[in-house]
Point group: C2
């Protein structure tokens, strides 16, 4: 654990993208790639790629470049995609269901192990082969199975209350789709936010404030 402590979040956030591009190359049967070639495909500098990768070790070979299958596997290992961390999903509304059915959890390091909803109507339904449980059962479940992460697809107010409880039941990480900023009140908890509304508003700004032809 914590093998790579000094690595900045900016670098880490680029790793999944490297992994994706290498996967494409792998599928295309490309066995060898230089930082220069990869940089032009990905729209960044060769320097940055070499710097990024060297945070984790020397995966290349001078005069040759990088071995695609090996590098792809290395990055997967660095990310921990083989770990099968246990995730629970909280909130089986439109978004929650879409996340449950749409996401390839298994190839991203996770197993979706339970789904909860606060509505008695929804509890009992089957989503992605899992029977939705009522949120009342969440404490028992967490204490018994110690999920690694909770995926919050619930409104802000519910998120605020439930995050508190989930933390007290030992959940240390959140994939947060709600508008509640967990990280502020819960130091030491890992939070990955997906603020769709913020993303859309940013897009709105950019459309309104971009001169035609500007990058």
């Amino acid at each position: 654990m914590a093998k790579y402590e000094g690595v900045s979040l900016s670098v880490v956030r680029r790793l999944p993208r490297y992994h994706r591009f290498l996967e494409d190359l792998l599928k295309a049967g490309v066995h060898r790639i230089s930082s220069r070639e990869l940089s032009s495909k990905m729209g960044l500098t060769a320097s940055q790629i070499r710097q990024d990768l060297n945070c984790f070790g020397g995966f290349g070979q001078q005069g040759y470049g990088y071995n695609v299958p090996a590098l792809h596997a290395e990055i997967g290992k660095i990310l921990g995609l083989d770990q099968g961390l246990r995730a629970i999903l909280v909130g089986a509304g439109n978004l929650g269901r879409a996340i449950a059915t749409h996401m390839a959890f298994e190839t991203k390091g996770f197993t979706l192990s339970a789904i909860f909803d606060s509505s008695p109507q929804v509890a009992g339904e089957s989503v992605r082969g899992l029977t939705v449980l009522h949120t009342d059962e969440m404490e028992r479940y967490c204490r018994a199975y110690h999920p690694d992460v909770a995926i919050l697809c619930i409104p802000k107010e519910a998120a605020q209350q439930l995050a508190e409880k989930l933390v007290s039941w030992g959940v240390k990480a959140f994939w947060n789709f709600s508008h509640y900023d967990i990280a502020i009140e819960h130091q030491g908890i890992i939070v990955e936010n997906v603020h769709l509304g913020d993303s859309l508003m940013t897009l709105c700004y950019r459309i309104n404030n971009t001169v035609d032809g500007e990058k």
Copy 2:
């Protein structure tokens, strides 16, 4: 248009979050806030808030702070949330439907004006009060109504093909949920990516590489 040309994307990306926090204060009946108070609520520095806001003008008052309703309205105007930009959604699968039904487009600067799907079975269905159209009708629709943005909730291969076409039909911005990196091949097009898989993999890394108690 392009009123604020020099402002960096890092600053712009914080605007929606300011807007959200100010909305909460507004609802709580708070009329006045200093950069210092706001900074402690949001988990950033007072300096940064003042710097950020001053990119767009002097909205505060020395010795007093910021007027909450006024600042909230200003940021909304800067973002262009009152513009009602026309959005079309491409792909009415799990994710597309969730986005269509879940997102509050109206309060984020957009109007969802049409939904398309490539499956003849799906075309004709009603989603959020809109009849899903077949993708064959997209060209005619774009040429007639000039949508400002296309929301891509389709697989990578389809995204690659359709992005190409949409650009040729005059679409200048994308809210992209696919794994295809539009921006690389289409310079001058505005792309806001939501790479859920990347976010999940980043979370995987952070869980695997965070020492207990570390921030």
